[in-house]
Amino acid sequence: MKKLLVLLLLSIVIVSKSSYALAQERVALDGKVMLKESQEPIPYAHVFIKELNLWGFSNDQGLFKISGIIPGTYTLEATALGYQKFSMPVTIEKPISGFKIQLLEENLTLKDVTVTAKAGSSMNSSSRVDKRAIEHLQATSLADVMQLMPGNVVKNPSLNTKNVITIRSINPTDAINARGVGLMVNGTKVSNDAQGFLDSQNASSGYSQDLMDFRSISTDNIESVEVLKGVLSAEYGDVTSGAIIVTTKAGRTPYEIRVKSDPNTKALSFGKGFSLGSRRGNLNVDVDYARSFKQWISPVDIFNRTTLGLTYSNVFDLNNRPLRFNIRLSGYTTGNSVTSDPDVSKEDFTKSKNNSATLAIYGNWQINKPWITGLNYNISGSYERSDFNKFVVSNQLPLPTTNSKTEGIDWGMLTQTNDRRDQHIEEIPLYFNAKISANLNKSAGGTLFKTMVGVEYNVKGNNGRGEYYTGAAPQYFRERSYKEIPFMTDISLFAEEKFSIPVGSNKSSLDIMVGARMNKMIIEGYNYNPTLDPRSNIKYTIIAPRRSGLVRELALKGGWGIMQKLPSLGLLYPDPNYEDFALFQYRDGSNAMALIQTKITDNKLPYNLKPNKSYNSEIGIDITLGKVEANITYFNERVRDGFTPNGEFSPYEVNYYNLVNYAGADPKYENGKMWVKNQTTKEYEELGYTTVTEFKAYKRPDNRGQQNKWGIEYDFDFGTISPINTSVIVSGAYMRTKNYNTGEYQLATIASDPIDPKQKLPYIAIFEGTSDLNIGTSRERFSTNLNLITRLPSIRMIITFTTQCIWMENNWNEYDSGKIYSEGANGEPIYGDYNNKNNLVTLFRDPISYKDKEGNVRPFSDYHTTTDNNLKRRLNMLRQSTNNSFYFMTTGFDPYFMANVRLTKELGNTATLSFYANNFTNSRPRMINRSRPNARPIVKNTPIYFGAELKITL
């Protein structure tokens, strides 16, 4: 694999060198950026040649310069905060000076303000949402923005529960998908992998504790959000589902104050981009405060968020080798507070508090040397401290307990009866990220070569104390500091080559992007081999955009690649397992004692937990027929090595001492034996015992999770119906997902043995895949959003009506063909086809084998052949069964619809008022599940919800 990478890097260098030999002369473009109406110069505007990644900034006189341009035809773009984006094709064959760029102030007097997601500029599928659209949407957290993505459905905002983001997923809480979503803020990676350790042991179906909570990311300081899907450029690592690229505001802006309100949330924000004077750069300040109630009638569950951001930005050496330099200090504090109903308890409460600070330095340097065109750099470090505190007062039984961390038999303690339990979970995750990439533009024979190579370095760890209690602790609780978990480092090298080849003479072109990313993960206790992700995208523009004809644009594109997501720290270092056995207990008035045996299993995984691996491919077409623009993309993503819980078991032999129920026994434990005073003679005698073998189970993550997903995303822009100033956009998706597990799953019920209840069931079941009756679950959804966007520039208003149509929404259990049976009158298995049927019999699925305490594995067919009644009764405990007649039927609903409205109105130049109402007709149909016509109908659609926002610009 290493060789392959070296080869790839070499080939890129060779290609670059050869193109260098053929390199043509470079030319420069200079000009002025100004306001269209008044010809006033606009400082700090970003002027950009898209295809070449070359850029310049305007100075205080509005003058800019871009050098190092390979002669050709490109797209020139110019953006400045508060102005509409400027974009036009330019042909630059020789140096041009005095080029005038006229920008328009962005407000609703313009006829073409975008308030929906637009296709982004990357070669893979992407959707871009700009500030205007976020404002029109009135998003409170980044998760809200996702509902603009094709195929996603409207969700009412809530800050009182964790906000998880998935990309191209039907299930909004799908852990495999959510874990694979990468977040980059100004190019800086934001990670959650060094936190969320709790529950990694107790997870029953998949792990979700380590998923990122997007509630802490406010949207008011965001300039744009771009969601990358499909096969991402090699510069993005540690993602499988896609990436969210957030760009925050940097540059001069007026004072901006926003007040947002909906029934559950109130928010206030302030932002301003100060100019520090000519050549001294800009300082952007953004502050946000939000407060949310779970239920507006009751103040017992409250979430608070305060975010603060300071960004200094400047460009040095504007005319020669411009260096763009940004430094951003950002932080947030979020808190959740749940108090009890005062009628129930005066003292109980749950609080959580997160404080975080991030310092990021980022930018790029346009060097314009023959061997390097530019350099991008990103360095960031973040510190977070979270404390979860739960206080519960109750009365408990005095039960045996110990917090011993050594194996052996010893006297323990008893839990407190007046239990004032003050639970804390402290996490202090620390992250460091550095990424540097260099790029080089070359041209040879009309073909444009763009080379990128880079390196990324990540370190993460947690210095928190973990879970601890002041005062009473639960039975058998052990503190485990996260400091014991080593830090994890990963280093990536990535390289990418992009060719743009003109085909024929009619502006047709072929763009090919080939890249690879190598990652090496380093963590104490494990030895990971480097992984290699090849990635490629291709785009064939058959008809370049033109202004006339029936087909005004036609491009085919496709991609294939592998992406990987590293396991989080909590999964690699699960808590050690402490098994405690109260061998003997005695209570004589105030004298209560418990002899406890402790056994410890170090739970460090005996194998490398592999990264989640996703094989992504997509094929798409962009076509413009007359005024109708259409994008249709087919995608296919297969996740392998998903994290799944598995059982691991060890049998323990334990001696339980006989009961002693008379006073004055004075028990003592000496020389590994238990002694008590005889009731009559008062002499010490050795106490007898019963030996019991028990299976103890503990969970371990492994890599058996699989997800197959495919779908078609579509987006049709029908243009504007001029007489009513209304544009029509239809978007949506059909998606289909199958989740299943491979490999062997071990299941022990830990139930009492049905023959001898003192013993645990002596067998473990080994199932293929899952211990369910199904071998996987699938779902599909077909949805369409019809957007009617009416722009009324004369009164500075914009209204969006969105009708959300769910045409199809189905779930089903995957059938294990040939392995499902019902029972005949004499208990004999009747194998048959029970799939897609209403089965009025109890159905069974057997484990493939069972394992006894000695580790012997026998086929489960024994159950059907044995004549040993006891064995049969024991094995019967391991079978899976259902008497749900609809179990193997597809559950689904008839189509249902929901209407939403959004409105933004500008009141002069200072105030903007926005309003939205989700499901404003309050359509909440009670729908019958097709597979269960007699069951209680299910209420569909989200409840009616509305909110308003006022923005004041000074």
Binding site: E347, L397, L399, F584, Q585, Y586, N661, Y662, S752, P757
Partner: protein, 412 residues
């Protein structure tokens, strides 16, 4: 003009009234809104007591409506009821000349009377002869109390008192104890999983769920003298030490449902407390679950079988949850059951114990408030017994049990 108005009004009023009359006659007549249920009572074979004058009570478990009647000479009680779904219950006691006490009780199947059905519904109620055992359940404190300090319910102090209600020595040896499935009485008109197929009548045996207990000894080791009681608890410790409103269950001579391996979440009992042995357990629970709202508890004997044979013969998979081994039960034949108490949280709950065991139900206003259900004293019998308290035992908890605001052991 005025007169015209008045007369017009009068005419209208009269018209309206006559219409109303029609309405009453046509739409609200007795036949329209009600039906007649004729309950015929029958004696079990071999008994010859009079069938007339027996009280019959019809209850609609869904609405809580009750109608009662008395049987005539032919043993039929005709009771007019509102439409609904009814169960009839009846019981009576007879003392013969030789002073032996007979208790008869019975329940019908569920009867549905709707406007579409016949106006007269005939039903048969067969009396069962039920036994009055020596050992009875005297008190059942299952709801827990309220801790004034934390303001929260505390129910680790549940207990049961067994009592020798006879004038002869009884023995606790090999007496078994269990709770019936489901843990809480079925509600919303649902029936128990354990009815005879296609009917609403409970099976002839009672499902003992999860834990089954047996007193140690196999003969005359643990005598219970006439008028003597045995206190049985889950956690035989002094609960009063931590919760002031609770009880002390850690006294010598009391009994504990405790097994260091099977009930790991029970407290180890105080020294001097005896242990009831767990002889059968299913599932993963570390604690014997006794509902705080509506348990059904019963005591029984194995009828001479060995424990392993008894388990083998009675072990049954719950037909409605074949996929959940935790709901497997031991089916205890009604003839082996000595006493039982059915507790409801609402009069609309459905029964789990057969009429021979408990033809009614006991009820508390709610859990976590200190209530206890306690058997009433049979004053006549007590007077006759010369001061030894005799408790009422008609195998109907509705009659036999009364509600105590505080558990009887609170002040002991």
């Amino acid at each position: 003009m005025k007169t015209i108005k008045i007369s017009l009004f009068l005419i209208l009023a009269l018209l309206f009234q006559s219409c109303l009359k029609d309405v009453v006659k046509e739409d609200f007549g007795q036949d329209k809104v009600s039906a007649l249920i004729n309950v015929k009572v029958t004696m079990p074979e071999g008994y010859n007591f009079s069938l007339s004058g027996r009280n019959v009570l019809l209850t609609d478990p869904n609405t809580g409506l009750q109608f009662s009647g008395v049987t005539d000479d032919s043993g039929i009680a005709s009771i007019r009821v509102a439409y609904g779904s009814y169960v009839a219950v009846s019981e009576f006691t007879e003392i013969t000349e030789d002073q032996s006490l007979y208790i008869f009780n019975g329940t019908t199947e569920r009867m549905r009377v709707t406007p579409k059905d016949e106006k007269v519904f005939d039903a048969t109620l067969s009396y069962n002869i039920s036994k009055t055992g020596q050992i009875i359940i005297k008190e059942f404190y299952y709801g827990g109390c309220l801790d004034p300090v934390t303001n929260k319910a505390y129910a680790k102090d549940q207990y049961i008192i067994l009592y020798n209600n006879s004038d002869k020595v009884a023995y606790l040896d090999s007496l078994c104890l269990g709770v019936a499935h489901p843990y809480n009485a079925p509600t919303n008109g649902k029936l128990s999983d354990w009815v005879k197929t296609g009917t609403s009548e409970l099976r002839d045996s009672v499902p003992n769920i999860t834990f089954a207990w047996i007193f140690p000894g196999n003969g005359q080791q643990y005598p219970l003298q006439p008028g003597e009681e045995a206190v049985i608890s889950l956690n035989a410790i002094n609960h009063k030490a931590s919760v002031s409103t609770s009880v002390n269950l850690g006294k010598p001579g009391y009994w504990a449902l405790y097994d260091p391996i099977l009930t790991k979440q029970h407290s180890a009992p105080e020294a001097g407390v005896n242990y009831v042995t767990c002889y059968w357990k299913m599932g993963t629970a570390g604690t014997f679950v006794l509902s705080q709202l509506s348990p059904a508890l019963f005591i029984y004997r194995m009828g001479g079988k060995s424990i392993s044979k008894f388990i083998e013969d009675t072990y049954t998979v719950n037909p409605t949850t074949p996929n959940n081994r935790n709901n497997d039960v031991l089916m205890i034949d009604k003839n082996l059951i000595i006493d039982g108490i059915e507790c409801f949280r609402s009069v609309t709950d459905s029964k789990r114990l057969r009429p021979e065991i408990d033809n009614g139900f006991a009820m508390t206003p709610g859990s976590g408030q200190g209530y206890s259900v306690h058997r009433k004293v049979d004053l006549a019998a007590t007077a006759k017994a010369g001061g030894r308290i005799v408790y009422q035992d008609t195998n109907n908890s509705s009659n036999d049990f009364e509600l105590l605001p505080k558990a009887s052991l609170t002040n002991k």
